[in-house]
Subunit: 219 residues, 2 copies
DNA sequence: GAATATTGACTGACTATTCAGTAGGAGACA
DNA sequence: TGTCTCCTACTGAATAGTCAGTCAATATTC
């Protein structure tokens, strides 16, 4: 628990002084790990600092208050998530099916889908005071996400053509992604990302059988 | 926030002394409300007691420690949830489609699907220390639930017949229910139970089109 | 030497828990 | 019916522990 994240490199002692940005990021990472390990309610500044091998006074030096640290941690997660699906969409083929496939896969990118980050997301969702905060800063992220997945489903529905209401299909896909994330946290025998992705593909195949199978994008 | 839950009846003043069981339930209810209003991390015994119009000493009198109060609150929610779907299944027609319909509807029973209870569930899920606790006491509940919905989906799949893997379909339905619950908590413009149920039915219709439409059970 | 980062002892506020005391009700007995 | 005694629920002041935030001293880098 107290292992410092940053180990000194053998022949070049870790610089005691690091750039503002580096330390801030290091403390945000420690916050995520600490919340995952101890829970939101039991997370103290000392825990966070110790996890990074630093003293708690430094946390206040860089973030002023605990609340600001937690806020910035949430904003970091939100921005990382947004950047991840945005990048995935941009990198994918422009065909609706490929776009949807990219969107579904994006959620299981190992960079954002780690146990600690899932746990931290879960903790922020659960903490009543965090929801308005999230809405205020990231509500527009979610709206963009909803719009993106809905538009793709509409295009895919036209292309099929499929008779399902594409908005409903989009929402089912979205909540399935959310539900699977939650499942990965809470289920007794947590299943792998691969298994989670298979569940999402089963859903996509049920709505868009001409484009998806239970194994993934067709063709 | 400080409104006593139990108002004195006009001509019969509220008894100062009430039965052990009544007070315990009253305090558990207050705990749910307080967690919903203030968040898990900020919930204090004084908050809980004030919400019930009682003194904080009484909480320790009845529950010994704060931890036990929170544990018992979680167990109460879990048992209420289990009893709800079990009862719904028993009351429904034995045809697989009717059983599945009962199971899907059960989650939206106004008795268990209140904003405060959703919020409390969310808080417990989010708090890392609560997950092992839940597993230990209620893991078997979840297993029974998984088995029930999986069995029903298998029967329904045979009856269709449908080509989807019924276990996957069951899991998608289950995580859709979970995801919709989460959505009711977190989305900017929270949608009604009716709208949430429609989303779940869209999912059921996608997997079992010979038994469900987007509006619900067929026939 | 100046600027900045870092430490850690300290403070003050908050809160879980304890406990000595209060009060209402239920029998026992007259 | 009155009153005495006991039991249990209940109160709230006191206690003890925790933790966020402060700050003077120190280290590091330029």
């Amino acid at each position: 628990m107290n292992d410092p994240i940053v180990k000194p490199v053998a022949d070049a002692p870790a610089p005691r002084k690091l750039s503002r940005e580096f330390r801030r990021q290091q403390l945000i990472d420690s916050t995520i790990e600490t919340i995952a390990a101890r829970g939101y309610a039991r997370t103290t500044l000392t825990d966070v600092a110790n996890h990074a091998g630093l003293s708690h006074g430094l946390v206040n030096f860089h973030f002023q208050t605990k609340e600001k640290l937690l806020t910035e941690t949430l904003l970091f997660l939100a921005e990382e998530y947004r950047a991840n699906w945005t990048r995935a969409l941009a990198a994918a083929d422009s065909a609706p099916a490929a776009q949807l496939d990219a969107m579904l896969r994006a959620d299981f990118n190992p960079a954002i889908c780690t146990p600690a980050k899932l746990s931290a997301w879960c903790a922020f969702w659960g903490e009543a005071q965090c929801r308005p905060l999230y809405q205020e800063h990231c509500g527009s992220n979610d709206e963009a996400y909803f719009t993106a997945i809905e538009t793709i489903c509409k295009d895919l529905s036209d292309e099929g053509p499929y008779s399902y209401n594409p908005s409903r299909a989009a929402r089912v896909l979205r909540v399935t992604l959310e539900g699977v994330w939650l499942d990965m946290m809470t289920t007794n025998t947590p299943y792998s990302r691969a298994e989670a992705l298979a569940t999402v593909y089963a859903c996509a195949a049920a709505f868009f059988p001409r484009h998806f199978t239970g194994e993934g994008l067709m063709g």
